[in-house]
């Protein structure tokens, strides 16, 4: 077995026992990257030499018996919208093709404090807008399970890299499903923590009221472990929760006998592929077999979530991306006669089509005369959706749904924006309601593509979420790997 194929828990155990070194582990990851990248193109920037230096430094520390962090020597890949000091961070946009931050995101500070090894920055949909990683200035990422297909998005590079064993773990960000949907398409675990659990400091904003950073890993256990590292109050993010942060692994391994599981009928009424329906029904059966009680329930506001999402997220992004003006950093057009032309050309050339579409949509819904009908209405709908979810969690411990209506689709297959947006149908309500959710591999489609289920829990109920997901993962025994 190549070391890069280890999961986080396994790798840590072997490192602790000094059976392997971080240098060996990191080298195997880099070798895999060298082999797989020409095929899948999951990465934007590879920090090969730096990674090896870091790995060796951690090995030295470990050998000398010095105090080492909880992730000592573990290679990780970070979505390119998360700022890494001295390492180019582009959000896969031409606008930031040369941007090297002078600061680390809060999560990166946390990972560094635990001695992780930064291996690479992962490709994504530009500024996290998209569901396929086709909207990247640096080119399309391909699904390791089938090169003709997308890995999902926007954290498609992170998901593909984990699926292809280019890394031990990855971080992504999830605004409407951008961690869970690619995790589902690539057969890995992906978490969208409760809004406010992980600091957004240093995460390039897409929609500030929805964005959350989350781990993508090979196992549920690894995700819980990473949540223990990256979560926590950060004074620099005013929306960071002030609370006692739990041990996310606590009670994870307890069984789920008597756990109350709800399946919202609105999810099941949507159009979805037979494979998705079959794998989901098998999963529900597994939950019953493990002693959970499963009931059909209803989220009456489900149908409005996607509309509210596109209004709110576009409104926020139109303002968040206004700072990319060519003045202080990033791309600036070559020739211009005056300020207005500089703005116009810089932004026309620097942003891709999907980003421009959302900016225009956002400016429209915020403009005078339309604000009440769109933005304000969407905020009200959001409150109703949140209430709807909270009602559910008076009756249920978790809600279950498929992650996506279909397995990974083909590159170029979605010809209109609406078709693309619908692939986030099952993940978006969780962000709108500020809940937590995890995507866990559940089975394969007839074509051999991975499919996941989504475990949704109330805000700050991550312990319940991990427990349900861990138990499911253990009994489902999903062990397939892409034949890369």
């Amino acid at each position: 077995m190549k070391l890069n194929e280890l999961n986080l828990t396994q790798a840590l155990t072997l490192l602790d026992k000094k059976e392997i070194t971080s240098a060996e582990l990191t080298e195997d990851c880099l070798k895999k990257i060298e082999m797989a990248e020409p095929k899948i193109h999951a990465l934007v920037t590879i920090a090969g030499e730096n990674a090896m230096e870091q790995a060796k430094a951690v090995d030295k520390k470990r050998a000398a018996g010095k105090k080492i962090g909880r992730l000592a020597g573990i290679p990780g890949i970070i979505k390119d919208g998360i700022c890494t000091r001295d390492v180019r961070s582009t959000a896969s946009s031409k606008m930031l093709y040369n941007y090297v931050p002078v600061y680390d995101a809060h999560v990166i500070e946390k990972l560094k404090a635990e001695d992780y090894v930064l291996v690479a920055k992962a490709n994504m949909d530009e500024f996290a807008m998209g569901s396929s990683t086709e909207n990247s200035h640096f080119g399309v990422t391909r699904n390791p399970w089938d090169m003709e297909r997308v890995p999902g998005g926007s954290s498609g590079g992170s998901a593909a890299a984990v699926a292809a064993d280019e890394t031990i773990f990855a971080l992504g960000s999830d605004t409407g499903g951008s961690v869970r949907q690619p995790a589902g398409f690539c057969g890995v675990v992906g978490v969208k923590p409760t809004y406010g659990t992980v600091s957004r400091y240093g995460l390039m904003a897409f929609a500030s009221s929805l964005d959350q950073i989350g781990p993508l890993t090979k196992t549920v256990e690894d995700s819980a472990f990473l949540m223990n590292v990256i979560s926590g109050r950060d004074e620099r993010d005013s929306t960071s929760a002030i609370m006692r942060y739990p041990d996310y692994e606590k009670d994870m391994r307890k069984d789920i006998k008597g756990m109350k599981v709800g399946v919202p009928k609105e999810y099941m009424e949507q159009e979805m592929s037979n494979d998705v329906r079959r794998v989901f029904e098998d999963s529900v059966k597994l939950f019953k077999d493990m002693g959970a009680t499963v009931e059909t329930t209803s989220l009456p506001t489900f149908d409005y979530a996607l509309s509210a999402y596109y209004i709110i997220s576009s409104a926020e992004v139109s303002s968040n991306l206004a700072r990319f003006d060519g003045i202080r950093y990033g791309y600036r057009t070559k020739e211009y006669a005056d300020l207005k032309e500089m703005y116009k050309k810089t932004r026309s050339e620097g942003f891709g089509d999907e980003v421009k579409r959302r900016i225009m949509l956002g400016n429209y819904v915020l403009s005078s005369g339309y604000y009440d009908a769109y933005y304000l209405k969407a905020l009200k709908v959001r409150t109703l959706i949140k209430n709807d979810f909270e009602e559910q969690f008076k009756k249920f411990d978790i809600l279950l749904s498929p992650v996506t209506p279909t397995p990974a689709f083909k590159i170029g297959e979605k010809s209109t924006p609406m078709e693309m947006y619908v692939s986030d149908l099952f993940t978006v309500p969780v962000n709108i309601a500020g809940m937590s959710a995890i995507s866990v591999p559940a089975g394969l489609s007839a074509d051999g593509l991975p499919l996941g289920i989504q475990v949704i829990t109330n805000a700050f109920w991550e312990n319940t979420m991990f427990r349900a997901a861990y138990n499911f993962e253990q009994s489902a025994g999903f062990a397939a790997k892409p034949a890369l």
Binding site: G81, I82, C83, S89, A91, L96, Y99, P101, V102, Y103, A105, R200, Y201, G202, L203, M204, A205, A207, S208, S209, E235, R236, D237, S238, T239, A315, E316, S318, S319, A322, R323, D325, I327, R328, Y329, L339, K340, Y343, N363, L366, S367, S368, Y371, Y375
Partner: protein, 474 residues
């Protein structure tokens, strides 16, 4: 036809907190370009604002001073517009729920007290500064993120004089409560003027214009005059006043309509999702209320009651925190408020004015002014020498005793010496002496003047008068 002006103001004051409103950069005027900056106030990707609680406190203090209601809930909104000095391309401000609402300031103009309504006070961030070079421009972001309050008034002002008194009152209040320096020349106090005119008999407001780029008190008054006359001319010629934003050109002494692209903004306000609402508990507001210093209006009444000062004197002294503090320090050391007040009102303010200094820059320590008053009281110097000494104190910062000593300005009280001088001057000037004796009493002043001149003004004037009269009357 007679017209009345209707004026409302938007006053921006920079708050004098240690740090900026959303980051820990220094809030400091006059630093080298782009030195008080960080990733947050340069709006680098992924950076987030964190509200400086001091700014909230200062804003609430201003609200209390201006008689506002302080709601328990307020929040920050984004005002979206693009300009190179605005690093995020949106300004974090307050739109729907400002920090303070519904206040009132009383002003006295021409013996009448008028109430000027304050619509709201909100907190927001300042933008940076553009430095135009030939062919290109540079941006200095030091000022970006400096905290501001914007005070919006009702259209309650009726003349340039009222605007002047109102702004002086605002300035004094903000100074007294220590939230702003209010230095117009450094841009820490700025003002936009909304103005319309209407025939005196008319109830409805006319169409207003908003005047921008008013960088000094004198610019504000000139602009009000110019703009009201312009609007009257428009109306008189049978046309309609346009609702528009106009830029004041102080060198030309004229206002011009701003170009469309400068003006036609849809700011697309919406709640800033990076910040949480501001909740102020009643006890927090009360704590701030309890910590408020004596405000100018109360101080003025106290000066009138406690020190028997005139209304006018008390107003002038309380117009600035610095003159009021100075006055009080002096009265502590020299408990003759009238004398202190006179010296400040006449001599000190004149000198400040002539040297173009602000009340915050008074160069004479309170103790030294009291020393001079003591010298005058004890007759060590007479009043005209006193003025000389004060000028010297103001210019050199030396204490009065030293100046008197160095320049030999002590009053001559030696009666014999003065007597001798009087006799000599009467002897040397037989003609005026004869005039006097033949009934021209005015001739006496000639001799007094001559004696004073001969002693460089140092002779005790009382003694001189007595002796001259005595000798002439023989």
């Amino acid at each position: 036809m007679k017209y009345e002006k209707v004026i409302g103001l938007e006053v921006h004051a920079e708050l004098s907190t240690e740090t900026k409103i959303f980051c820990s950069c220094k809030n400091e005027f006059g630093s080298d370009q782009n030195t008080n900056v960080c990733p947050v106030c340069l709006s680098m990707p992924g950076m987030l604002p964190v509200l400086n609680r001091k700014v909230v406190e200062y804003g609430v203090r201003a609200g209390i001073a201006l008689g506002c209601d302080i709601p328990n809930f307020s929040k920050m909104d984004r005002k979206n517009y693009t300009y190179p000095d605005l690093s995020k391309s949106y300004q974090i401000s307050q739109f729907e729920f400002p920090l303070c609402k519904r206040g009132c300031v009383e002003i006295d103009v021409d013996g009448q007290t008028r109430k000027i309504g304050i619509t709201r006070i909100h907190i927001e961030e300042d933008a940076g500064k553009l430095l135009h070079q030939s062919g290109y421009s540079r941006v200095d972001y030091n000022r970006g993120g400096v905290p501001l309050i914007e005070i919006v008034t009702e259209p309650d002002l009726r003349s340039a004089e009222e605007v002047k008194v109102f702004l002086e009152s605002i300035k004094a209040n903000l100074e007294f409560i220590g939230v702003s320096d209010c230095k117009m020349q450094e841009g820490s106090l700025r003002c936009d003027v909304n103005i319309s005119v209407r025939p005196e008999s008319q109830k409805e407001f006319g169409t207003r214009a908003e005047l921008k780029n008013l960088n000094s008190f004198s610019a504000i008054f000139r602009a009000i005059d110019y703009e009201s006359n312009r609007q009257i001319d428009v109306l008189e010629s049978g046309e309609k006043v346009m609702q528009e934003t106009r830029r004041w050109d102080d060198t030309q002494g004229k206002s011009y309509p701003m170009r469309d692209k400068e003006e036609a903004h849809d700011y697309r306000y919406f709640p800033d999702p990076d910040l949480v609402p501001i909740y102020l508990e009643d006890n927090e507001i009360q704590d701030i209320r309890d910590s408020m210093p004596e405000l100018p209006a109360a101080k003025k009444q106290r000066y009138i009651g406690e020190f028997s000062l005139s209304d006018y004197d008390a107003s002038i002294l309380t117009n600035s925190k610095f003159t009021a503090e100075y006055f009080e320090q002096c009265v502590l050391q020299y408990p003759n408020p009238k004398a202190v007040c006179n010296y400040i009102m006449v001599d000190l303010l004149k000198m400040l004015n002539e040297s173009g200094m602000e009340a915050s820059q008074i160069p004479v320590p309170a103790g030294d002014l009291c020393g001079l008053l003591k010298l005058l009281e004890d007759g060590v110097v007479n009043s005209s020498v006193g003025k000389q000494v004060f000028e010297e104190m103001f210019k050199t910062g030396k204490p009065p005793e030293q100046i008197v000593e160095e320049k030999g300005l002590k009053q001559i009280d030696d009666t014999d010496a003065i007597h001798e001088l009087v006799l000599r001057i009467i002897r040397d000037n037989p003609k005026p002496a004869a005039d006097y004796r033949s009934g021209n009493a005015k001739a006496m002043t000639f001799f007094v003047g001559q004696v004073m001149k001969a002693t460089n003004g140092k002779a005790n004037p009382k003694t001189v008068n007595e002796l001259v009269k005595k000798e002439l009357d023989g």
